[in-house]
């Protein structure tokens, strides 16, 4: 087995140098890590599992990579090797991302982006890598299904002042403040997405489309008391029937408060904020607007 292991590692190295990632991964996954003949120490097993997972991920092959990351997750808890732990974390986040578990992936990306050390083992942790992890966290959060959990992660990211320097910040701001996103902004955001994030869903729309429509629908529910599906469809850029179907699902999943009058084809949004509290909010907005006008008049010397 010893000789086989050496040959496999050598071949894997060659495949890797030719960037044939999956072949290299297959070559390594042929090594029998659990054989009773030789006692392999846990760290060696862990490093192999993580290496194979990374190779599969180079080809965006989440299924095979996940098999090895699951094996690694039993070994990583008592691993002291920080480089390996970091690689494991990155693999795990990317697998969640590829499997469209966007919210969990976002939390792991964010955790990675907060690494304080700049030197782990012989690996240099540069700011770009951390910025990429942060940006990936924002992207995944935006793609996640709208709801209270996503809002919490959005708020955390929005408060993190590193995000204000990201190219993606304007979108993050609008999504966090529950403002409606226009088509040009969505298209610009789509440019940054990875292939799997643009993949088509069974109903022939992309993950991004769904996330954006749901987001805009939630934003509209903050703006309007009620709206006809005709108007809503126009606002969201989709047919009225589809708008009604998505709204119905979100109400059913308790991610939006409201009721649908199918005879009139109108949706009535509900806001569980008490009338008197809404009144206070309206007054705060009015005073703020008055204050802004006075400030800008003062600055113009009027």
């Amino acid at each position: 087995e010893e000789q086989v292991l050496i040959i496999r590692e050598k071949l894997a190295e060659l495949y890797e140098s030719e960037q044939q990632w999956s072949k290299a991964a297959q070559m390594l996954s042929g090594i029998d890590l659990d054989s009773g003949v030789r006692i392999l120490d846990d760290m060696y097993k862990l490093s192999k599992c993580v290496q194979i997972a990374r190779l599969y991920l180079e080809d965006d092959d989440a299924v095979n990579a996940e098999a090895f990351i699951n094996k690694a997750s039993f070994l990583v808890s008592n691993s002291q090797q920080e480089v390996l732990n970091l690689q494991y974390k990155v693999c795990y986040a990317r697998i969640l991302d590829l499997k469209r578990k966007f919210l969990e992936a976002a939390l792991r990306y964010y955790d990675i982006s907060q690494i304080e050390k700049r030197q782990i083992g012989d690996e240099e942790i540069d700011e770009d890598a951390l910025e990429q992890a942060l940006s990936a966290a924002v992207t995944c959060t935006i793609l996640a299904a709208a709801g209270p959990q996503r809002s919490r992660v959005l708020a955390t990211l929005y408060k993190d002042e590193r995000c204000s320097k990201l190219k993606i910040y304007p979108i993050l701001q609008k999504v966090n403040l529950e403002r409606i996103l226009r088509k040009p902004e969505i298209d610009a955001f789509a440019e940054e997405l990875k292939p799997h994030q643009k993949a088509l869903l069974p109903d022939n729309s992309t993950v991004l489309d769904r996330a954006m429509i749901e987001h805009n629908l939630l934003s509209a529910s903050k703006l309007y008391t009620n709206i006809s599906f005709e108007e809503l469809g126009t606002l969201l850029g989709i047919p009225p029937q589809k708008a009604e179907k998505i709204a119905a699902r979100m109400i059913y999943e308790d991610r939006m408060r409201g009721s649908i009058d199918q005879v009139e084809a109108v949706i009535h949004f509900e806001d569980d904020t008490e009338e008197l509290q809404q009144w206070d909010q309206q007054i705060a907005g009015l005073c703020q607007a008055l204050n802004d006008i006075l400030d800008s008049m003062t600055s113009k010397g009027m």
């Binding site: 009338e275 008197l276 809404q278 309206q282 907005g285 009015l286 607007a289 008049m297």
Partner: protein, 40 residues
């Protein structure tokens, strides 16, 4: 632009104008008077 801002500001008045608001407001008004009466 100031005039536009001012006119949009005025358009936001009255701040609240719903049946339910009136009910809630008067309800709270009466409750508070009742509390004052009770305390007296």
């Amino acid at each position: 632009s100031f005039l536009r801002q001012v006119s949009s500001l005025l358009r936001r008045l009255p701040a609240m104008e719903s049946e339910k608001f009136q009910d809630d407001f008067l309800m709270e008004y009466n409750d508070t008077l009742l509390v004052a009466y009770l305390a007296m």
